[in-house]
Each structure stands twice: as C-alpha cells, then as structure tokens.
C-alpha cells in the first residue's frame, strides 16, 4: 500500500512550475510513474504531492523539425519512440534502444522525460542520446533554458533541475551525412550493467567524427572525449588498433566499481568489447547505407 499523497493536475507548464515552487521538496513531477511509483512503493521515498504532467497539453508527442531534428515531448512514452516511423526511419538507433528499454509494460507507460529526470544510473536513453548531442528544454514559470543533455545528469538520481523546473522537450539533431549510430548494452539483472553508444561520421576513408558515451557503469552516463580523440581523424583502415586504445581509455574513465552488476574489471572489459562492436557496426551501417 502506497502512503497517501495528493494529486495535482495542472493545465499548463506554468501551473506545474508554481505547484513545485509552492510545495518544494514535498512535490514531484509525475508522468508515467514507472520509476517514481516503484520507489514510493518500496518506501524509499515519499512525496505529499504528485504533479501530473500528463494533463498539461503539448508535452507528449514526437515530430521531425524542418532541419531534420527530432523533437520529443518529455511525456512521450518509450513505446511511441519505439514505433514511430520518423524515429525508426531517421534515427533507427534511438528506435532500437527504446524498443529494448525494460519491458513492454514499462515502455507503454514510462516516458523518456521521466527516465532522464529520474536519473537512475542503470538506464539506456541518457547514454545514447548524448552521442547525438541532444539538448533538453527546462521550463519554469516565467522562463526556460536549453542545455546539452550531458549537463542534465549531476549524480545518481540527481539532475540539475531547479526546484520549480520541469523538463518539457528533448531535441535530437540529425547526424551529419555519412553517419550512423549504434547502442549496445549488456546486463543480466533487470537493469543494464554496461551500455555504450557510438556515433561515427566518415569522410574520404577517414573517421571524421567519433562520439562515444558510456552509461550504467559510472554514476552518470557521459561522453568519453579522450577515447573519442583516439578514433578521430584516423583512416578507417586503422580503426582496429585505435579501437583497442580507445576501449582502454573509455574503460578507465568509466568509473566502474565492483557491485552486484559485476566486478569493476569485468565492466571495464565489457566497455571495451561493446565499444569495438558498436563502432564496427556503425561503420558497417554507414557502408550499408551508401550501397543503396
């Protein structure tokens, strides 16, 4: 039995923000509740007020912008992203990643915004979306700001959201031409133990751009820029050696600890393996799309 709480159903972002301001730490934004209600049921946390953002119009839905960016309402369920044609055609790695989040029931109800804001370290979207240089829009009554997604995550279960702010939109720019992204993960518990996202852009037989993000290992998902530098501007033919080195750098930088998900050494090993496989799959995807 959950402890009782009051439900607030704002009709606008401003009203939602006001409610957060008024009730402070006693209130929390509630969307799908797949993380929040679970934590509340376990008695780990309690809020006297849940602010239902599903009643605010315009926060759910996905559309393609004129410039090819994907604009995702924060209250969009994972399943919508799994199945929407714009996502599967233009951002197949994102559709694939969303299709593998948790289970179908969580995907039907749980939202991308909720997932990002709960900031559970063992999660998928926060890692992959960073290789797209995704940004997030944070709104409050009387103001809004847009920040790179990677700045949203401050620590385990902690974001940079101010007390009266809510996440309203995630914007994913398209990758450059001759690019592909891949996300691979490994886990044997309910949540992923290691997740690696990669985006690669090719030009004249060289790796013009390489982006790597690691999630589920450290306290937050983040980009591995030192590892990226090892792969950048190298001829594709030289990738093997560079990948091994990039893998070692990313593994060390991933801040792995020994816990129920495995030993630190094992996770570091997996980072290297998944990075190599994801990178090679991305290269193949670029080559494949060019043959058409």
């Amino acid at each position: 039995m959950l402890r009782p709480f009051e439900l607030c159903e704002p009709a606008s972002v401003a009203e939602a923000s006001e409610l957060l301001l008024r009730h402070g730490e006693a209130a929390r934004i509630y969307a799908g509740g797949t993380e929040l209600i679970l934590a509340m049921k376990e008695g780990l946390i309690h809020y006297d007020y849940l602010v239902n953002v599903k009643t605010v119009p315009g926060l759910a839905g996905v559309r393609l912008d004129a410039d090819g960016s994907l604009r995702i309402g924060a209250a969009t369920p994972h399943r919508v992203l799994e199945r929407d044609p714009s996502v599967s055609e233009r951002f197949p790695a994102i559709a694939r990643m969303e299709a593998d989040v948790a289970n179908v029931r969580v995907r039907e109800v749980g939202t991308l915004g909720g997932n990002l804001c709960f900031a559970e370290p063992h999660a998928d979207p926060g890692a992959l979306l960073q290789v797209f240089d995704a940004t997030v829009r944070l709104e409050r009554k009387g103001g809004a700001r847009t920040i790179p997604l990677e700045r949203l995550f401050v620590g385990p279960f902690e974001t940079c959201l101010e007390g009266d702010e809510l996440l309203t939109e995630i914007v994913v720019p398209p990758l450059a031409p001759r690019s592909a992204a891949v996300y691979l993960k490994f886990g044997f518990l309910e949540r992923p133990s290691v997740g690696v996202g990669v985006a690669v852009t090719l030009a004249d037989g060289h790796v013009a751009d390489a982006r790597i993000a690691v999630g589920s290992v450290g306290p937050v998902p983040r980009r591995m820029r030192d590892a990226e530098a090892r792969l950048q501007d190298r001829p594709v033919a030289d990738s093997e050696a560079a990948l091994a080195e990039a893998g070692r750098i990313a593994a060390r930088a991933s801040d792995a600890i020994t816990d129920l998900h495995g030993s630190a050494e094992y996770k570091e090993h997996l980072v290297g393996v998944l990075l190599r496989r994801a990178f090679q799959a991305a290269l193949a995807a670029v080559a494949g799309s060019e043959r058409r």
Binding site: L7, L38, V106
Partner: protein
C-alpha cells in the same frame, strides 16, 4: 485532489468509483472489484503476472495508479472467455501445455492478446521480444511461444465454420 471520482469499464462492465490517488490498479481490480485473476507477484513491474490491458495497452497493474484508468477500458483475464467458450489465446495455451502452476498465466495471456492485436502474425523473435517482460518459473517458455504462434494462426484463420471453408 485526494479522492478521485472515475468511470471505468472493466471487462465490458461500467463502474463508477471514487479512488484515492495512491491506490494502485491491482488494488482496485482485486480488492474493490474482486478480480483475483490479476496476480500480484514481484510487485515491482518486472515479472508481468499482473499484466492487464488498459485501452488495449499492456500495463503492470501493480505499479499503475488506479485513477489512470478513468474513462478507459480495462481488460483482465476474467474478461476473455464467454462463459465456457475460451478465447483462442486461452485455448492455444491449454492445447500446447503452456502452463504448469498457472500463476504467470493470466499475465502471459493478456500480454499475448495485446501482442496479437498489434501484430497479428509475429515471428518467433517478435514474440520473444514482446513477451520478454513476462516471466515464467515453470515451463521454460518453449510451449508458451508455441502457443502464442498457434494462437496467431488461429486468430488469422478466423472463427471455425461448419463447412470447413
């Protein structure tokens, strides 16, 4: 708000209820409406035993709040059979021996109904991907997958006609 009036249709029957916001859907279905076919197992939305359909979408009744079903159609295992006539998915599970203790079965069947409504002819891989969130401790899953594939064929064929056409 701390008492939410709602209309909800459950297995075709309309109900007018008032629920507190913190009541879960499983508490509403089991404790208020007596639908004990909705099983509470892991209680952390991982095992799927509590799977019910809300507007044809599979959800974990243990973690979805009851008021979220307001104005919607909820379907539980109790709503599948017509008297003694089993739903084709139920028939397929029985024929293929896709259950042993039966505890995961209501959730398995409801998830299957949702799957086949969305994807009437899934491949075995698609079945496994969709059903990944429904856990069975008894059967080893092989017969469950076979039952689902058989059910999809049965549903595609349509109701049996006496002239075999």
């Amino acid at each position: 708000m701390n008492a939410i009036p709602m209309s909800v249709t459950v297995n075709g029957e309309a109900h007018a209820l008032t629920v507190p916001p913190h009541e879960t859907l499983i508490e509403c279905l089991r404790d208020r409406l007596g639908l004990l076919g909705v099983k509470k197992s892991c209680d952390v939305q991982v095992c799927g035993a509590c799977t019910v359909l809300v507007d044809d979408r599979p959800v974990s009744a243990c973690t979805v709040l009851a008021f979220e079903a307001r104005g919607k159609h909820v379907r539980t295992i109790e709503g599948l059979a017509h008297g003694d006539d089993l739903h084709p998915v139920q028939e397929a599970f029985v024929e293929h021996g896709a259950l042993q203790c039966g505890f995961c079965t209501p959730g398995m069947i409801m998830a299957t109904v949702a799957l086949l409504a969305e994807n009437p002819s899934p491949t075995a891989d698609e079945v496994k991907h969709y059903m990944r969130g429904n856990i069975c401790r008894c059967t080893g899953y092989k017969r469950i997958v076979e039952a689902i594939l058989a059910a999809s064929e049965r549903l595609a064929t349509g109701p049996r006609t006496t002239d075999g056409g």
